[in-house]
């Protein structure tokens, strides 16, 4: 049961002014009727009785008015105040001190007494005193001192009664307040509980939705293989893409197999060597470490690997490895997202075949052009004019240029398809460089470039002289091509730790810093090259690097725009140069 309803029913909390006034009105009416009807009860002063009646009627009417106008509640105490005066008048009009109706004064006393605050005890006392001492106040002292004393005594007695009532109602009120506060707390707690329940239901729904979304996503990824592992490499997630690519259902691998079991062992070993693990550093699972080491150290790792299916079929993939982190950021496992590269490889192979075919078809007409041009030049019967010879030279030069381009394209295709082979022999690098220098001299002389060489003998390496010569030719001819008239190109050979280093530096137009990492890419042309209209298609350096890489070496470049460029290639030395 609601506490507030109870309080209302008891009328303790806020009874209406009319309700409070009604006992007074009723008792007053009875008194008036009794006074008029019973002869023994004399009406000593009809005017007073009439005034008292008017007063009660007014008080009751005002109480009724206040009841319908709750906004004027603060004026409610006017009602018992009038009551006091009216009861005083009643008493006076019905025999003064001998009136039997003096006790009516208890009703307004109670009204005042139940008001909150001790000052109302004083009001009750004053009201009672005014009611009982009204004759004296009006100058009628007929009763004499005993009457005065009785009135005073009764006033005090009523004041004490008012004090008791006031105290009791204060206690009742306090209990009520605390009960109400308690009930408020309960309601608040209840509401909070409700709110929590609602929120819980909401987050549960969200969780379910997220779960559904996650499952939908996981199931939808069928073209990429996604494999999750713990930190030891044991598989704990295997998506439909992985099931399709590796032809095994999730149940057959999850919590049973390790991810490195699906990799080509040689590749893992090569990678381990490349990452230079100290022997025994990754005791648990070296193959797995080779896969995740860069990811473990925080860098993104995307590279090509080969997956091996249970039937032995090999699938080339591009694999991205990322760490999975726990709540505190610690690595709790890894994710392996793989793209099947079979089709891409096939496309690359077809492209290489196509380039090969086209190059072949280009070489045949070039054979005719160059061959017949030479026949004209060697014609004995007719002497060619100087002009004709010059025209022939132009045609020949351009046919050769076209031939070189075709050769480069073919070579690039060979490098990419892996059909390019080296005929490695241990030899001194100096003669190879000298030959390249010699063949570059006409070009340097024609463009006014000084060619300097410092190529000491004694640096031996396992090289294919033709290919490495081609690489050196490319570097030197590039340096000449990108150096304005009057500049210098320097070719130097030196040892550096276990490598022989060929350095070709120029005083040319240079390469922008942000392009340096791209110069070895296929068909890349530096902005300085296009700006200065230097001819070329951007294959020379790609080929040069491919040759050097095939020798187990590497290339490097340093450049400053407008100052010059230095390319260096290094190949492993097979023995230390003899000390002089």
């Amino acid at each position: 049961m609601n506490v507030a309803t109870l309080v209302n029913k008891l009328g303790v909390d806020a009874p209406s002014p009319l309700l409070k006034q009604s006992p007074t009105t009723i008792m007053f009416a009875i008194a008036v009727v009794m006074s008029l009807a019973i002869p023994q009860l004399s009406v000593s002063d009809p005017v007073s009785l009439a005034s008292a009646s008017v007063g009660i009627v007014l008080a009751t009417a005002f109480a009724a008015f206040l009841t319908v106008r709750p906004s004027l509640q603060h004026l409610a105490l006017i009602v018992p105040t009038i009551d006091f005066l009216a009861i005083g008048a009643l008493r006076y009009g019905t025999g003064d001190s001998s009136s039997i109706f003096a006790s009516l004064v208890v009703l307004p006393v109670v009204w005042f007494a139940v008001e909150e605050g001790r000052r109302y005890i004083l009001f009750a006392f004053l009201g009672t005193a005014v009611a009982l001492l009204l004759p004296f106040l009006l100058g009628n002292t007929a009763g004499g001192p005993p009457s005065l004393l009785r009135a005073a005594y009764a006033s005090v007695a009523f004041a004490i009664a008012a004090a008791v009532i006031n105290e009791l109602s204060r206690h009742a009120r306090l209990r009520l307040y605390s009960a109400r506060a308690l009930s408020d707390q309960r309601v608040e707690a209840l509401n909070k509980n409700l709110e929590h329940t609602e929120r819980l239901a909401e987050s549960e729904a969200k969780l379910r939705q997220a779960e559904l979304l996650y499952r939908g996503l996981w199931g939808a990824v069928t073209e990429q293989s996604v494999i999750g592992t713990d930190v030891t490499g044991r598989i704990d997630a295997w998506n439909p893409g992985a099931a399709r690519l590796l032809d095994l259902p999730a149940e057959a691998v999850q919590d049973i197999r390790y991810v490195d079991e699906f990799h080509l062992a040689e590749e893992l070993e090569d990678r381990s060597r490349e990452l230079e693990y100290p022997a025994g550093a990754t005791v648990l699972n070296p193959g797995f470490s080779a896969l995740v080491e860069p990811a473990r150290l925080g860098s993104a790792d995307v590279r090509e690997w080969t997956y091996v299916r249970h039937d032995g079929e090999r699938i080339p993939v591009e694999l991205s490895v990322t760490p999975r982190t726990g709540e505190n950021g610690e690595i709790i496992g890894y994710l392996f997202v793989a793209f099947d590269m079979t089709k891409a490889r096939e496309v690359a192979r077809l492209k290489d075949e196509f380039v090969g075919l086209i190059s072949h078809e280009l070489r045949t007409p070039l054979s005719s052009i160059l061959g017949y041009l030479e026949l004209i030049r060697d014609e004995d019967e007719t002497e060619l004019s100087a002009d004709q010879l010059q025209y022939l030279a132009v045609a020949e030069r351009n046919a050769h240029r076209l031939l070189r381009l075709v050769g480069d394209l073919l070579f690039t295709a060979q490098v990419e398809s892996g059909t390019f082979t080296l005929d490695l022999q241990r030899q001194d690098l100096s003669p190879i460089l000298s030959a390249s220098l010699e063949s570059a001299r006409p070009q340097a002389a024609a463009t006014g470039i000084t060619l300097r060489a410092d190529v000491p003998a004694g640096f031996f390496a396992e090289v294919d002289a033709v290919r490495l010569g081609q690489a050196c030719d490319n570097l030197i001819s590039n340096a000449i091509k990108f150096t304005p008239r009057g500049g210098t190109v320097t070719v130097a050979l030196a040892g550096a730790e276990r490598d022989a280093v060929v350095r070709v530096s120029d005083t040319g137009i240079g390469i922008a810093q942000d392009e340096l990492d791209k110069v070895f890419g296929k068909f890349f042309r530096a902005s300085t090259a296009t700006r200065n209209a230097v001819p070329g298609v951007g294959l020379g350096l790609a080929i040069t690097k491919a040759i050097v890489k095939a020798h187990g070496g590497d290339m490097d470049v340093a450049s400053e725009e407008g100052v010059g460029t230095a390319f260096s290639l290094s190949v492993p030395l097979v023995n230390e140069p003899a000390l002089v």
Binding site: H360, L375, F411
Partner: protein
Amino acid sequence: MTDELDIPRVLVADDDADISTLVAIAVRRSGLTLIDKRSDGESAWHAIRELRPDVVVLDVSMPGMTGLEVCRALRADPDLVGTRVLLLSAAVDDASRQAGLDAGADEYMLKPFSPRELIDRLSRLAGPAEPAQSGVAR
């Protein structure tokens, strides 16, 4: 069959007419006799067996039989033991060159070739037979 004039006889086979004409000119300039020109491997092989040339210039990629196949067939034929073979190829890789030499070719030349060099090689191919013979005669 021995030629009275003792001038080595040459057969040329290439599916590209311009190239075979170029080779024919080189043959003449090297002082040899051009006896036939063929544009496919099979007819070249028939002509070789029929005409028994001293030197054969074969393009590697030809319809019918490839130059390599003709060369192998020729080497397998005991009647054609002394025939010299020069292969012309537009392929540049070492593997193709090795395949040509393995097939039994005496010379292997890459396209594009210099007519001057072809003349040299043809002369060399046709030439050594005489000193060798005379060497033996002595």
